[in-house]
């Protein structure tokens, strides 16, 4: 805490025709942290991050990098990984890194990029022959070439298999270890929980909550989460219970009392589960929708 913010977003707005994709959001990101922008598909995450990257121009509001509006030099100080990018065709991984290295005044050495992103087995491979995970590693490699002060990663693990996702998280940890500020969008809550020091949950173009994941959880859930899939027809429900399509959910601060109340109300406890609330539960609570993962 107490660190200066590297980027500030003030009253940011973006309209696509009649659709307001981003609706007057403000936040700042402290230097050196990993900041997660979470939300379901269509929440406005990519639009927000692309305005921060300087790719899209805002319809309103302002973005400041180290206290100044973003300018041409900004592009030399940030690394960007888009959600989907085609790579130049017919050139190899090594040639692609060489190409992008030529764009920056003081690029990272090829060996360092290859080492950081585990690309050594792939350097002579044609871009077109990379798997999903390999591609993302190369795109991350391109993003870190300029020794960026700030790295933007837009849904970097979407579409990857569990193994490739885990590998990719490891790479992000390496970049975080360099004290680089990371801005990450994702709709995977496990990813956010593991990587992010601070998250903002977005839906319908607005930020619903923003804080450290543990603080958000303790703010919204005092206790554990009890789920009963087939409660039958109970006489009454204990305090803090909510009816859902797939059964009832109870946030309980006192598990013993809750179970007693459930028994007294003749709730069918078959299939009951108890778990520590995580970001996914918070997310569903806030956005009212299951994740469209």
């Amino acid at each position: 805490m107490g660190m200066a913010s590297i980027i500030e977003v003030e009253h940011l707005r973006k309209d696509f025709g009649p659709v307001r994709a981003v609706d007057d959001i403000s936040f700042e990101i402290r230097e050196g942290i990993c900041f997660g922008l979470l939300g379901p598909n269509g929440a406005g995450k990519t639009t927000t991050i692309e305005m921060m990257e300087g790719i899209l121009s805002p319809s309103g509001g302002e973005i400041k990098f180290r206290g100044h509006p973003i300018d041409q030099r900004f592009k030399e100080k940030v690394g960007i990984q888009f959600q989907s990018t085609a790579l130049p065709e017919f050139i190899t991984v090594k040639e692609t890194l060489e190409l992008f290295s030529a764009f920056y005044p003081d690029p990272r050495s090829m060996e360092e990029v290859i080492e950081l992103c585990s690309l050594s087995d792939l350097i002579d491979r044609d871009n077109r022959k990379l798997s999903g995970g390999q591609r993302q590693r190369l795109l991350l490699g391109i993003a870190i070439i300029p020794y960026p002060e700030l790295v933007f990663l837009d849904e970097p693990t979407t579409g990857l298999d569990p193994q490739a996702r885990r590998n990719f998280w490891e790479l992000i940890e390496r970049i975080k270890a360099e004290k680089t500020t990371v801005v990450l969008t994702t709709h995977y809550m496990d990813e956010a929980e593991l990587l992010c020091d601070e998250v903002a949950i977005m839906d319908h173009g607005k930020i619903l909550e923003r804080d450290r994941p543990d603080r958000l959880l303790s703010k919204h859930f005092q206790g554990v989460l009890v789920k009963i899939p087939e409660p039958g027809n109970p006489d009454s429900l204990p305090e803090g219970a909510t009816k859902k399509e797939d059964g009832i959910e109870i946030v309980s601060g006192n598990l013993e009392r809750t179970v007693r109340e459930l028994l007294e109300a003749r709730v069918d406890l078959h299939g009951l589960s108890i778990h520590q609330p995580d970001l996914e539960d918070l997310f569903i609570k806030l956005t009212g929708s299951r994740l469209r993962a």
């Binding site: 592009k75 888009f82 017919f90 060489e98 764009f103």
Partner: protein, 341 residues
């Protein structure tokens, strides 16, 4: 500059390594030139062809020879002049011209048929026919084969496709698949990117054209009366002009299908109206006027006049000026229109 060369290199490697496109760009025009050379090579018959102007005297034994095909030209209605007929002799489309109006006969001294026909005709004169009063005139002209006339057209057409699709289509594809967006996120400027693309294409297309010309010339020995430097200069300017057309399409379009359709809309009229495969001589005036708007016409006509008529720089200057002016205008338009996304 470092950025420029990096992008120039990447784009050029893409071209060389894309085997399909690479060979298509080289082999297609070569096959076309050889194909036409072969198709039009046969001296279809053993007849001599003699052009006849004015009222022929068919009682002359010469006029009755079965081995000679007589082609009669009506110079009365003004559709063809005696000079035009003699020009055909110069270009070896005729082997001899008999002008009964002015009592002259013309042969081409560079044509092997010339002396034979003269011998036959003077034999007639010795017999005391009207041939005796004819005066001999000589012209000199190398034969222009169809393939000599065709080769600038084929190379021009190949240039056009390679520039329009290689720049126009490829940049639209980059825009659609996100390569442009990725570059926009780097410190590379749009101008730097576009110049590198255009420069890579310019070098590739000029080298391809030289290769196709040299490769076919080694076997077919094209007529070349003018200067190679002039021809190369015209080629380079025409390539730049075609690239500029490609850039206009590349500046905004996002859909490859639309780009492909529009590019075809531009290339097809040029193939037909720029005189690539056949001359527009004698076609309706409106078509000829349209053809003068098309840059390919100026390349093809300029190259033909350099190669076949030995035109110098000043004689093709109007073509240079048109291509240069059009290029400047198109580059200006595309620079105003360009968007990364």
């Amino acid at each position: 500059m470092k950025k420029f060369f990096a992008m120039f290199k990447a784009r050029s490697m893409e071209f060389v390594r894309d085997k399909g496109t690479f060979f298509w760009n080289l082999l297609f025009p070569i096959v076309l030139v050889f194909g036409f050379a072969f198709a039009f090579s046969g001296n279809n018959d053993t007849l001599f062809k003699v052009g006849v102007i004015g009222q022929a005297d068919n009682s002359m034994p010469f006029m009755q020879m079965k081995q000679i095909e007589f082609v009669r030209y009506d110079t009365q209605d003004g559709s063809i002049t005696p000079a035009d007929v003699v020009e055909r002799l110069r270009q070896h489309k005729l082997d001899m011209v008999l002008d009964f109006t002015n009592e002259r006969y013309y042969i081409n001294k560079l044509s092997p048929e010339g002396p034979v026909l003269r011998r036959l005709f003077t034999a007639d004169a010795d017999r005391g026919t009207r041939a005796a009063s004819f005066i001999q005139e000589e012209v000199a002209g190398q034969p222009i084969r169809f393939v000599d006339w065709l080769v600038p057209g084929v190379i021009g057409m190949n240039m056009m496709f390679s520039c329009l699709f290689g720049v126009g289509f490829v940049i639209v594809r980059y825009r659609k698949n996100g390569v442009l967006k990725r570059l926009k996120a780097t410190p590379v400027s749009a101008l730097n990117f576009v110049t590198a693309q255009a420069a890579s294409r310019l070098v590739i297309v000029v080298l391809t054209s030289i290769f196709v010309y040299a490769g076919t010339n080694a076997f077919l020995h094209f007529m070349m009366k003018g200067s190679y430097i002039n021809l190369l200069l015209l080629t380079t300017l025409a390539v730049v002009c075609m690239i500029a057309i490609g850039l206009v399409f590349a500046s905004r379009l996002k859909s490859e299908e639309l780009a492909s359709g529009l590019l075809n809309l531009v290339t097809f009229p040029m193939i037909i109206l720029s005189g690539v495969f056949f001359s527009l001589e004698g076609s309706p005036k409106i078509l000829q006027q349209i053809s003068q708007v098309l840059p390919l016409t100026h390349f093809v006509e300029g190259a033909r006049s350099i190669m076949l008529e030995g035109a110098g720089f000043m004689q093709v200057l109007p073509d240079y000026l048109y291509l240069g002016g059009l290029t400047a205008a198109l580059l200006f338009v595309s620079s105003l229109m360009f968007r990364w996304e």
